[in-house]
């Protein structure tokens, strides 16, 4: 009897603790309707509930918003930002005309200035998502220039400059009234939550379930606002990297064979992740450990 009376409070305490721990994990009821507005609302709520002290706009600072020491290091780093060389290079490249006399400005609305927050967009003619990186290479090819590698160097420099001209502007990703756009969004969402690679990780495993936690020496960034800082200078890479680089290296880190940059899956997941971060400011180019 004494034993039983001792077990009940223990069991009840364990159950309460389990509820507290697992209560932060999203519920597992499946929804079959595609509702991006509700998704974005739930996405923001999940992260703001998880980090109640953090201002919404601070989520774009990734791991620096999760850890006080890192935040202080970042503030110091921002005085001489490691991405500055790339920003300068991008500015020069952007202004330099192609051999046919035209330039990047001729390919984009508002001459390419202050438009980063509108990418990726759904192109109704093509029926697919178009990212900024893809649009830049298409611009080059349309003007007789060879495309750049999607992962670093020139592409990172160009997107760094374009992001810089949009700093502070909130992400404004649209999903047009086109079933193909909704399908692309949904595919991106599915990709984001799907486990892959021998390590059986999804994007969400790190960036939804564990932001603020360490994976080896790194502090994981929250998924909310994660693309607002792209492209980034990563100390781990000793250089700049684009969104394409981030996606492909994430895949290989979990022992999955990465797809080709700008394959439909990556374009769609960028569309999904950018949409659910609508309203958060562009902060790129960024720097990460």
């Amino acid at each position: 009897m004494k034993l039983r009376s001792a077990i009940y409070p223990l069991a009840s305490a364990a159950l309460t603790a389990a509820l507290l721990v697992f209560g932060t994990v999203p519920p597992t009821v499946a929804a079959d309707t595609v509702d991006p507005v509700a998704d974005a609302k739930a996405f923001k709520k999940f992260f703001t509930d998880k980090f109640p002290k953090l201002k919404l706009e601070d989520f774009v600072n990734g791991p620096y918003s999760m850890n006080e020491d890192l935040y202080r290091q970042w503030e110091e780093k921002e005085q001489f930002p490691p991405y500055e060389f790339s920003l300068e290079m991008g500015k020069e490249m952007f202004a330099k005309p192609f051999q046919n006399g035209k330039s990047y400005a001729d390919c984009f609305p508002n001459k390419g200035i202050g438009i980063r927050q509108n990418y990726p967009y759904f192109d109704e003619k093509e029926g697919k998502v178009v990212t900024l990186e893809l649009a830049l290479n298409r611009c080059r090819e349309a003007n007789g220039e060879p495309p750049f590698s999607y992962v670093k160097d020139e592409m990172a420099a160009l997107t760094a400059y374009m992001a810089f001209t949009s700093r502070g502007k909130p992400f404004d990703i649209k999903i047009p009234n086109d079933p193909r756009a909704l399908e692309a969004y949904q595919s991106g969402k599915e990709y984001f939550y799907t486990r892959r690679g021998q390590l059986n990780f999804s994007c969400a495993t790190c960036h939804v379930q564990s932001p603020g936690e360490r994976i080896r020496a790194e502090v994981l960034a929250p998924a909310l606002g994660i693309l607002n800082a792209m492209p980034i200078y990563r100390s781990e890479w000793s250089g700049m990297g684009t969104t394409s680089r981030r996606f492909t290296t994430c895949n290989s880190q979990i022992r999955g064979v990465p797809l080709s940059p700008q394959d439909d899956e990556y374009r769609n997941v960028e569309y999904y992740l950018s949409y659910v971060s609508n309203g958060l400011p562009i902060s790129g180019p960024g720097a990460r450990p």
């Binding site: 499946a30 486990r195 021998q198 379930q209």
Partner: protein
């Protein structure tokens, strides 16, 4: 005594057949099966880097004539490829368990 001899011969024969060295043909069959499974994983957009590494190890071992090692690496590659196929199929519905809603 005769029975013991017969039993010993049979035992030795069965033991040597278990530990018999793999042949090039064994390797080719095991490698082809592994490659086929990995191709299927590729068509499902879910290959694993470790599968490619095991296939490479199998090929290298075969080139040096070590067919035991080559067959073992091929079998490992096939098992990994099949696991990646299982993963992609099961995640068709399981991904929803992680979804924020």
């Amino acid at each position: 005594m005769r029975n013991i001899l017969v039993a010993s011969v049979l035992l030795i024969a069965s033991a040597t057949s278990v530990f018999a060295a793999s042949s090039e043909a064994d390797f080719k069959a095991a490698y082809a099966a592994a490659e086929a499974a990995n191709r299927e994983a590729g068509s499902l957009r879910n290959q694993w880097t470790v599968t490619a590494a095991a296939l490479n190890a199998a090929k290298k071992a075969a080139e040096t004539g070590d067919f035991d090692k080559a067959v073992a690496a091929s079998n490992e590659a096939e098992a990994l490829a099949k696991a990646s196929i299982f993963q992609v199929k099961s995640e068709k519905t399981l991904w929803k368990d992680l979804e924020i809603r």
